[in-house]
């Protein structure tokens, strides 16, 4: 029996499990998946919780619902990977040996990396929305908040879903308008980037949206510490921004098990070939999703496109061929912009987001880099697709490599 071990049963790990389970001969392959938690979170839904659009129950399902029968699922923390011996040591003292390993251990927020972030105001006036706890605590806070300075701050790049912070301020603009207190809420978007987004053309379009929605933008702000006493964030070059409520996107780092294994960079992300998705220096380890160090967005859509490429390359490698499929960095993001509208962007390593129609050239139904109602419905529909198609490894009607059709310069 050949052994495949998948580490992590989030979106990326679960997709790979289902895709490979469908094709690998059950008499020849033993598949094991490991995760420390029983619950699967629909992470794109966290964004909507602070505004009362979703609640906790809308974004959770048991992970086991998505594991095919006959797969061994182990709920345990990972101690470390010993790649020289093709072994994984688990915190529950089990040792798993493998012929092939797929690492999908994701990324987590680390507020403690910034001085004062996890101080006395944490989850009182300082919130994250990248955890279920943070998103729910912020929902409770917003319900009774009567206005003041709302500051959203990105600590450092890279972060999971680089568009989520923008969506957050767009939705805040809508939410406080609906509540009738928008004039009492000063919304301020504070980023270490030189613009509103990572890619220049989209940054300029999205920057205009901030302007239109009366959201202030401060760029090139690298947070050094949080002053809890005076409710201020302070940059390394001593600029100060006061807040009444701070919504932070803390430092993102890969799993600690990666650091313990000596396989990660300074943020515990794994050096990965950006085209083949194989871990650099190993011929039987693949990496997918947020766990990689690829210069692409950390997002579910990226993990999904990667899963098609990894699937093909995995089959090549186990049959002794060179991996042929090449990932192009494709990302596709529905950006919720409030008031029932959305913006869609589609890009890869080399091509930044461009205007046009998607996925059918000239037809759509979605419009790229434009704010439309249809784009919003795309986002709403996506939760159903996520639970019912994506995690189960079914085909989606979008190519894994980006297409230039329908885009214009």
């Amino acid at each position: 029996m050949k052994k495949l071990v998948i580490l992590g049963a989030g979106a990326a790990g679960t997709m790979m499990l289902n895709k490979l389970y469908a094709v690998l001969d059950r008499d020849e392959w033993q598949i094991t998946i490991v995760d420390q938690f029983e619950t699967h979170y629909y992470q794109p839904g966290f964004l909507f919780i602070p505004f009362g659009i979703y609640t906790r129950k809308d974004v959770i399902k048991p992970k086991r619902d998505f594991f095919p029968a006959g797969v061994e699922a182990i709920i345990s923390e990972i101690d470390k990977i010993v790649p020289e011996e093709n072994k994984v040591l688990l915190k529950n003292n089990r040792v798993l040996s493998y012929d092939y390993l797929i690492i999908a251990t994701g990324t987590k927020i680390h507020p403690e990396e910034t001085e004062g972030m996890k101080g006395e105001l944490w989850h009182k006036n300082i919130f994250d929305f990248y955890t279920i706890e943070g998103a729910c605590a912020l929902a409770d806070f917003f319900k009774h908040w009567e206005g003041g300075k709302l500051v959203l701050n990105i600590t450092e790049m890279p972060i999971k879903c680089p568009v989520a912070p923008l969506e957050f301020v767009f939705l805040a603009d809508w939410y406080f308008t609906e509540r009738g207190i928008r004039d009492k809420v000063d919304i301020h978007f504070v980023t270490p980037l030189p613009g509103a987004f990572t890619k220049p053309k989209a940054a300029s379009v999205l920057g205009d949206f901030l302007d239109k929605k009366n959201i202030r933008l401060t760029t090139d702000f690298n947070i050094g510490r949080v002053d809890n006493e005076n409710k201020k964030i302070v940059s390394w070059d001593e600029r100060e921004i006061p807040f009444d409520v701070l919504v932070t996107i803390p430092t993102n780092m890969g799993d600690e098990a990666i650091a313990r294994s000596g396989m990660g960079d300074e943020l515990n992300f794994i050096p990965t070939d950006k085209h083949t998705l194989m871990a650099k220096g190993y011929d039987n380890i693949f990496v997918i999703g947020d766990a990689t160090d690829l210069p692409s967005s950390k997002a579910g859509s990226v993990a999904h496109f990667e899963s098609d490429i990894l699937f093909e390359n995995f089959l090549d490698v186990i049959e002794g061929r060179q991996p042929k499929a090449k990932f192009d960095g494709h990302a596709n993001c529905f950006i919720e912009s409030g008031f029932g509208k959305g913006i869609l962007i589609d890009f890869n390593y080399d091509t930044e987001p461009l205007p046009g129609k998607f996925p059918l050239p000239g037809v759509g139904p979605f419009s790229l880099l434009e704010e439309t109602k249809m784009n919003h419905y795309g986002k709403v529909m996506f939760r159903w697709m996520y639970w019912n198609s994506l995690l189960k490894g079914k085909e989606l009607p979008i190519e894994s490599n980006m297409s230039m059709a329908g885009k214009r310069f």
Binding site: E156, M157, D220, W236, D237, E266, L267
Partner: protein, 105 residues
Amino acid sequence: MATIEILGKQLEVDADGNLANLEDWNEEVAKELAKMEGIEELTEKHWSILNFMRKEFQEKGTAPSIRRLTKESGVSTKELYELFPKGPAKKAAKIAGLPKPKGCI
């Protein structure tokens, strides 16, 4: 490809405005690049960072992020911001004649 004029020569730059060719760089060019970034004089401390960055780039193929800089060079983040105001990793990479660090995507 766009170019900038330094010491009477036209040097090619990439989309981020960083030097496109490693071999166009030398210490005199670095001093000029520093001035363009608002740093009038490169001190010994500046040079130790720039040299570290070039060494890392030669070994790893990418310029180090600010995290790697503080971890490996022994200079604190605070001090890095004093040496290279606003974005130390980005700015130091530019002056060292290297492409923008990958972490800045």
